[in-house]
Amino acid sequence: MKAKYLLIIFSVACVLGACSREEENLFDKSASERAQAALENADNVFTGAKNGWEMLYFANPSSCGYSIILRFKKDGQIVATAKNETTTRNKLLTDSASTWDIKNDYGPIITFDTYNSVFHAWSDPGNDGDGLLGDYEFLILHADSSFVKLKGKKHGAYCYLYPLEEGVTEAQYFADVEAMQKRMFGNSNLLHLQTSGKEYLLRDGSSGIFTLTDLGVVAVGEDPDINPFAVTRTGIQMMSPFLDLTATTYTLQEAEVVGEDSKIAAASPAEYINEYISILSGSWTIDMAEIGDSISSVIGSINTALKATYKNNKKNASVNSLVFKKTTKGLVLVFSYYGNSSKATTDMSYLFDVTASDGAASFTYSGPADENAQKTVNAFPDIEKLLNTLSGTYETVANEPINPTAGIKLTNKSNSELWFTIQGKM
């Protein structure tokens, strides 16, 4: 009898167990339906941009970024255009004889599955088996009509796509990118990353890979933080955010490049002068066409004296250039002039000190750097007059605040007629 009850209880338990409520569906469609929908969505996104996409391509996590214009056709054709030093030797190249596809492989994948001489230039293994270590298959991490984020399947770099504005031609696009490159990174410009808590130095921007360090000179043996980026028409696109920040897109707004949680800008012009010299060993050249009358008249006097002395080269004897640069003896102003020869210049160095304070830059002349420089001053006393005239404290204004190397106008704080402009060069 007991066995009968046990059997009944067991049967009821089985029935109840079988009737237990099913797990609630987290999704309203099956996995395969969702995968198919994701593929269709991606396909529609890529083909939906009327003027194609600007792709900011990072071959691998250590590579600088490159711009490619991609036009995805509904029939599976892809048209790729690029212009850069590395893969096209600065020629605008387009290849339209290849294909693209969207497929499913642990999620939606975009593949460029027949060779495109423009696009596959980065993934071609070349003669060493590696080439530029780029990808041609990418995981689609995000895709909507305004933004696509991809991740290289083999080498793992992130790539970004934005719809290209209608009416912008390939030639115009790359001209704009080149102009932005020159504007932001010409003359090996030095920049600062400004976060809410700290400011960092960004070097090597002209290479497309920022080296991020604390402010100041990098210590020997220090392992710097490497941050690849691509120049865009409007600013820059980081491959990954700096440090623990979130911003990857920075837009140039007047004097600074602004991201959602940080900014990139140059130091104030006064501080920048020293930073450019001390960190990069860059030089500052006085623009002879952009100087005030006070300095111009002294230079005129020097020219007169030179012509009087070097009579056999009367036509050309003159001041050639005035350049502040770092040497083994310290910061000097290199006074370069044509004497006997109309082809070769003679350079004399004069010691200077440059400091920055309260937005102003102070230049202090302390004497000739060597005996020859002393003799030259003795022969042409107006040179010393010029050096003393340059000594003083100056208000500084950068012509291009994001890149002061383009020109800094220095106006003497006590004499507004005394001014000159310097340009940075590596």
């Binding site: 596809d101 027949t114 060779y115 071609d124 088996g129 590696d130 080439g131």
Partner: protein, 304 residues
């Protein structure tokens, strides 16, 4: 209760019978392609289906799936233009050759099921080697470096494509029917699997190998003998033989013995005449007419 058992029994029988139903195979393992006439590659895909899949039961893959490549190597896909050229050329210099020499249906039955083109080489920089092709499980032949081929350079086309195809196809054949024992014994002490790449052609020939790679191991030796014998011109074969016997070396004798073993093995095991195969290849190579080769081109489909 008895009824329940009866129902279960009948149900089990139905399921059992259903599972035992014999599958009926079609003429090709590949399903008919979904025909979308609007795709960029439609004409080429149709051409491949018509000239490869239907007659030879082979899928000619030119679009690259990274999953199908060795992840240890960096490669790129083949260009559409080179895929078209090589598809036509391999039809002319390989498939059509076997069709004219081998028993009917030989390639459809024994040929590779997949031919995969890859645009670049697979380079092992640390060893200083590059893969020109590979055969996988008697099913797939992968041809590499296609983008770099010069179509007017038959020696190069042979080295990188057609010799490779004969090489890899010979692998497929010996994977199905074992290598002759007497072949394995001819050079048994001279294989150098780790240092073959440092061997020159002349050194390999004088040891009785058709190429340096042939000296790496016996199965590579076997397929290199066949592949080189088929694609090398008379002049090139003569150079190989005369170099192989220079300074009293025994290379020529060994090479000739190996060729004879291959000749016999192919005839007995596969009813394939190696010399007829070579003669057909040599005639076609010497009289290569690009207009004829490309006349079935997908860009000129109306010429068919």
């Amino acid at each position: 209760m008895k009824k329940i058992y009866q129902i279960l029994f009948v149900g089990a029988m139905v399921l059992g019978l259903a599972s035992c139903e014999k599958e009926v195979f079609g003429p090709s393992i590949f399903v008919d392609p979904v025909v979308d006439t609007t795709t960029y590659t439609y004409e080429f895909d149709q051409w491949l289906y018509k000239h490869y899949t239907v007659p030879y039961n082979v899928e000619f893959r030119y679009r690259l799936d990274d999953n199908a490549t060795d992840p240890n190597y960096n490669v790129v896909p083949v260009s559409m233009g080179m895929a078209d050229t090589i598809a036509h050329l391999s039809l002319y210099l390989w498939y059509d050759v076997y069709d004219s020499v081998a028993p009917a249906g030989f390639l459809k039955e024994n040929g590779p099921r997949i031919i995969q083109l890859i645009g670049s080489a697979m380079i092992n920089a640390s060893q200083g080697t590059e893969k020109l092709g590979q055969a996988e499980g008697g099913i797939k032949i992968t041809l590499m470096k296609i983008n770099l081929m010069e179509t007017n350079n038959m020696d190069q086309l042979n080295e990188y494509i057609f010799k490779t195809m004969h090489h890899e196809f010979s692998h497929i054949l010996h994977q199905k029917k074992t290598l002759p024992k007497e072949f394995e014994q001819l050079s048994s002490g001279n294989y150098n699997p780790d240092g073959w790449q440092y061997t020159s052609d002349a050194e390999a020939w004088q040891l009785g190998f058709a190429s340096p790679y042939g000296s790496s191991q016996v199965r590579e030796d076997f397929v290199e003998i066949i592949a080189n014998y088929i694609v090398k011109t008379d002049a090139q074969l003569n150079t190989m033989f005369t170099t192989a016997e220079k300074n009293g070396k025994s290379g020529r004798k060994i090479l000739e013995q190996k060729i004879e073993i291959c000749r016999t093995w192919l005839k007995e095991k596969w009813d394939l005449d190696l010399d007829a195969l070579r003669a057909e290849v040599q005639t076609r190579q010497a009289n290569l007419d690009w207009d004829e080769v490309m006349s079935l081109g997908f860009l000129n489909e109306s010429a068919e």
